[in-house]
């Protein structure tokens, strides 16, 4: 029950949970921004029908693909730690 280290497990474990949560929140936010952005770029806002038409569908697929690519590029720039000045 007593340990030599006064706060070992509790904090380390909480930190692991907290990191996992932060990581999941990041993924959710990435997905949401991507979805909002591609909706804005690809979907006709007059809403003449409830279906996505062929043009919209192929625009969405390409938009997701390009967004993913931009995400990768920016990730490389940031992790390169390239001093931005």
């Amino acid at each position: 029950m007593a340990s030599t280290n006064p706060f070992p497990e509790g904090i380390a474990k909480e930190q692991a949970f907290s990191m996992a949560q932060t990581e999941m929140e990041y993924r959710v936010e990435l997905f949401n921004k991507l979805a909002q952005t591609c909706f804005n770029k690809c979907v006709d806002k007059r809403y003449k029908e409830a279906e996505l038409n062929m043009g919209e569908n192929s625009c969405i697929d390409r938009c997701v693909s390009k967004y993913w690519q931009v995400n990768g590029m920016v990730g490389q720039l940031l992790s390169a730690g390239k001093p931005p000045m």
């Binding site: 996992a20 997905f31 991507l34 409830a50 969405i60 993913w68 690519q69 990768g72």
Partner: protein
């Protein structure tokens, strides 16, 4: 995501797995509610522009329903593409 995320939690006692599962449930609930709020906001902004009456006009209602359905279909499609990309390399060009 999952692999690295779970790194610190592998082989933990049942109690922690339950805590983890509960956390994921909470995040999913929160995310659904946020999506609901965003959907309402978007379709309201795009479809409602006259304020001479306090109830929706017929064509505003139609617009809102189409907008909501279209956004849901769009989200499902994006979800499929996103899942495919996540399964492949972290970045794809």
């Amino acid at each position: 995501m999952d692999a690295s995320m779970m790194a610190g939690l592998e082989g933990l006692p049942e109690e922690d797995k339950a805590k983890m599962a509960s956390m994921i449930d909470q995040l999913q609930l929160r995310d659904s509610l946020r999506m609901y709020n965003s959907l309402v906001e978007r379709c309201f902004v795009d479809c409602v522009d006259t304020f001479t009456r306090k109830t929706l006009q017929k064509q505003e209602e139609t617009c809102v329903m189409r907008c909501a359905e279209k956004f849901l279909k769009h989200t499902m499609r994006v979800g499929m593409r996103f899942a495919e990309l996540n399964q492949n390399a972290p970045t794809q060009d």
